[in-house]
């Protein structure tokens, strides 16, 4: 069945107008495109003067030429001085580096009793095959606790800066209001290449991260690197599947619980070890057999804590710097 339009409806379509134009019944441009000369306003001496002074005033007010000229000169001098200053600083630093003890010389000041003991007795005293982990999580665990708190403070600061002010309970309204500001609405949902790749990669990445954390005291790696790997896996998952899916796994509450749990464990575990160490009490934490997965005292637990904190920090940063949040 053909769909015929009524005459009235047909007259409103473009096809009708086109046909009319083709058949010369109507020229659509007639009376519409010719230039009509504008009426010249009567110019007297007074109006010209007025216009000129007005323009001058606006120019003076808006641009403030004199001041801008000075400012421009100042900026040029400022830039030149800044470049000179940076070059001078770089020069001084390079010159200083050239005067420092040469690398690779045996009697360098840094080759003293400190690294000697780390290397010779590290395994025996900390139980960690990976000496670096032994150093950062046993010899100098206090610094590392400070380092985890740096991450914690950084996340808190980012939350202060970027966390949405609206509470979760008026979620509905939030989504309606800020559609343009929220990636929840505009995120690419059906990117199947990314999704398939993520399906394959994310489990592997996260498993590898867990492996790196758990073997931190045995092989290169540890909490910081393993946590970063897990965080990267979570970020990939989020970019492939969007907030809807990741929210099942990771919300703001999860972040709070995990970071609180991890940091508290670190704090309590290390407080015990600091307290016993300083008061010359015996620590009841066995070091185990070096090389076994459950060995080296607290290091494994601390690695897990650090890894969790790092993963949470990375993921939270990513979520916060996207449009919209948790």
């Amino acid at each position: 069945m053909s769909r015929r339009k009524s005459q009235e409806e047909y007259e409103r379509t473009k096809a009708f107008r086109f046909w009319r134009w083709m058949s010369g019944k109507q020229d659509p441009y007639l009376g519409k495109v010719e230039l009509v000369p504008r009426e010249e306003p009567e110019e007297t001496e007074l109006t010209i003067q007025e216009r000129m002074t007005e323009r001058q005033m606006i120019r003076d007010k808006v641009y403030d030429i004199e001041h801008n000229k000075k400012l421009g000169v100042f900026h040029k001098i400022y830039e030149a001085l800044a470049v000179c200053f940076c070059l001078a600083l770089a020069g001084i630093l390079l010159y200083t580096v050239s005067l420092l003890p040469a690398t690779g010389v045996a009697d360098k000041p840094v080759n003293n009793e400190v690294p000697a003991r780390y290397i010779e007795k590290g395994l025996q005293e900390t139980g960690a095959v990976n000496i670096v982990t032994g150093m950062i999580l046993d010899y100098r665990a206090f610094d590392t606790f400070g380092e985890s708190n740096v991450l914690f403070a950084a996340t808190t600061t980012v939350l202060i800066l970027l966390h949405s002010r609206k509470r979760a309970k008026d979620k509905q309204r939030r989504e309606e209001e800020s559609e343009g500001e929220n990636d929840r609405v505009y995120e690419p949902k059906q990117d199947s290449v990314l999704q398939v790749a993520a399906c394959v990669l994310v489990p592997v990445i996260i498993l590898f991260g867990i492996y790196v954390i758990l073997n931190g005291h045995l092989s290169p790696g540890g909490g910081f690197s393993g946590g970063a790997i897990i965080g990267a896996g979570l970020i990939l998952y989020l970019s492939a599947f969007g907030f809807e899916k990741t929210e099942k796994l990771f919300t703001e509450k999860t972040y709070k619980c995990i970071s609180f749990g991890a940091l508290t464990t670190y704090c309590l575990a290390k407080s015990y070890s600091f307290f016993t160490g300083a008061n010359h009490l015996e620590s009841h934490i066995p070091l185990g057999t070096p090389g076994a997965i459950i060995s080296s005292g607290l290091i494994l637990i601390l690695n897990i804590c650090v890894g969790l904190v790092v993963a949470c920090t990375m993921y939270t940063f990513y979520v916060m710097f996207r449009k919209g949040d948790f």
Binding site: T96, V114, D143, G146, N149, A153, T156, T157, I160, H163
Partner: protein
């Protein structure tokens, strides 16, 4: 080992744990945890101070099972414990005094984040006081920087965010320079533990080996910490950061954060580089000149300012100049004067910020001088407290500022080359201080005809109480100064 010796470790861990705990608590609970932690740490520090005065010597404390150059170590002496006590008192008073303003300025759900940062800031200050290891110092400098940024930014208006960005850039530049200095020093000496570095540096100074890198690294560390504590030419971040943040943040930043860095610098001078080596380098002259310039230019900027909070902020630049001048004079007594000025300035500046908040509140929230006319009649307590702070800053006897000026002058008189510049600049700076502080005091005590709406002072028992405590602290520092100066000198001797 006496149980009291654990207190520095307890203080640091307690404040960090309180910060972690605040992350899962609602805002009221977080506030109580924060106040409780600060109070407890103050009490612990007081106990420690008493113990150290009794034994009369400092001690080191192992953080773990390994002795010092391998493991971490902290160290406590009279000066550290006294500073910790003082910092806790100031922080407690600033938090209580700014509490009402905090609830207005900061969005409700962000208040518990504020207390997290406050706790972390306290822990980093304590660690800077007690640390005996350069790398530990650097880690906690980082925590300090980040938390301070958050504390500035939390108000969330455009100006505070701009101020925080500025603060962050300058402060990170400072941290970077400090880190470079530490790296060079590590390369030269092979140690991170302060006492070991000092031995090695003394050997290097005698042999004259690596002279230039040593000077560069001293310079880098001094400039880095000077940027972070807003010494004169590096103070561009300061007025906005203090002027636009919420009251407790401004008070804590001006009286504690910058002082923490200065204390670290003193620690570097005494315990890392060695006082004699530092004195022989010419960096001390640079600090001296910058200090003198800061005293004058800070005050000049403050005179030109039309916004009361920014005026007080610029006055901080001048006061930091005093402290650096004392460091630059290069005698033990001048250093003691600087430490006393740290106390005096911290007590006075936080008082001024808290009092100003009250004055602005009763003047329709405006910070401009025109609107503040007669504000002292509308809020009598804040007016009185502001006057006390102003008099103390100018250096009127009875108040703490007088004693620090007296000590600086005394230190200068014994000094041959530097007596004249110190005394002249001290005089000029006092006059400039008097110009802008007295101008403000006269302004707030000028009666206005229609004596506007009186500030609603019902149920604000806390605020006058805090102001009274601040005034009392100031008067105690001013009247009872001799024991405190003795304490500082004893502490400095333990330091070396």
């Amino acid at each position: 080992m006496d149980f009291v010796r654990n207190f520095p470790f307890f203080s640091i861990m307690l404040s960090m744990f309180a910060g972690i705990l605040c992350s899962i608590l609602p805002r009221r609970a977080a506030r109580w945890v924060n106040l409780g932690a600060v109070g407890t740490i103050g009490a612990l520090s007081a106990g420690l101070l008493g113990y150290l005065l009794k034994t009369g010597e400092s001690y080191t404390y192992l953080m773990g099972h390994f002795p010092a150059p391998w493991g971490n170590e902290i160290r406590a002496g009279v000066l550290e414990a006294g500073m910790a006590l003082f910092f806790c008192v100031i922080m407690l008073l600033s938090l209580l005094g700014g509490q009402k303003k905090l609830e207005e300025d900061v969005a409700e759900e962000k208040q518990s984040l504020y207390f997290i940062l406050m706790n972390l800031l306290l822990s980093s200050l304590l660690a800077l006081l007690y640390t005996n290891d350069l790398f530990t110092a650097y880690v906690f400098v980082e925590i300090n920087t980040i938390s301070a940024c958050g504390l500035i930014m939390i108000r969330g208006t455009g100006r505070t965010i701009e101020a925080a960005v500025r603060y962050m850039i300058m402060s990170l530049l400072g941290s970077g320079m400090l880190l470079l200095g530490i790296c060079v020093l590590y390369d030269l000496t092979g140690h991170l533990l302060m006492s070991n570095i000092k031995e090695q540096v003394a050997l290097l100074a005698v042999s004259g080996e690596y002279h230039i890198p040593l000077m560069v690294c001293i310079g880098l560390m001094c400039v880095g910490l000077a940027i972070k504590s807003a010494l004169f030419p590096f103070h561009a971040w300061l007025p906005d950061a203090y002027g636009y943040s919420t009251v407790s943040s401004a008070a804590v930043l001006s009286s504690l954060v910058s002082k923490g860095y200065i204390f670290l610098l003193m620690k570097l001078i005494y315990r890392v580089i060695g006082f004699e080596v530092f004195k022989d380098s010419h960096i001390i002259d640079v600090l001296f000149v910058f200090g003198l310039m800061g005293m004058i230019f800070g005050s000049l900027s403050a005179i030109r300012e039309n916004d009361i909070k920014r005026m007080i902020a610029f006055s901080s630049v001048a006061q930091i100049g005093y402290i650096y001048m004392g460091i630059g004079m290069g005698t033990q007594f001048a250093m003691a004067a600087s430490v006393f000025h740290i106390l005096s300035h911290a007590a006075t500046k936080s008082l001024l910020f808290v009092a100003t908040a009250g004055l602005c509140d009763v003047s329709g929230g405006s910070k401009h001088f025109v609107d503040l006319t007669g504000a002292a009649y509308r809020d009598k307590w804040a007016g009185a407290a502001f006057s006390v702070g102003a008099l103390s800053m100018v250096g009127v006897p009875l108040f703490s500022g007088f004693i620090s000026k007296l000590l600086f002058a005394q230190a200068a008189v014994n000094l041959s080359g530097r007596m004249l510049p110190v005394l002249v600049v001290l005089g000029i700076s006092t006059i400039l201080n008097a110009i802008y502080f007295m101008k403000t005091v006269i302004r707030i005590y000028t009666p206005v005809k229609e004596n506007g709406a009186k500030g609603n002072q019902d149920g604000r028992l806390l605020y006058p109480l805090v102001l009274c405590l601040f005034i009392a602290l100031n008067v105690i520092l001013g009247v009872n100064s001799q024991p405190i100066v003795d304490l500082i000198e004893q502490g400095l001797q333990m330091f070396a």
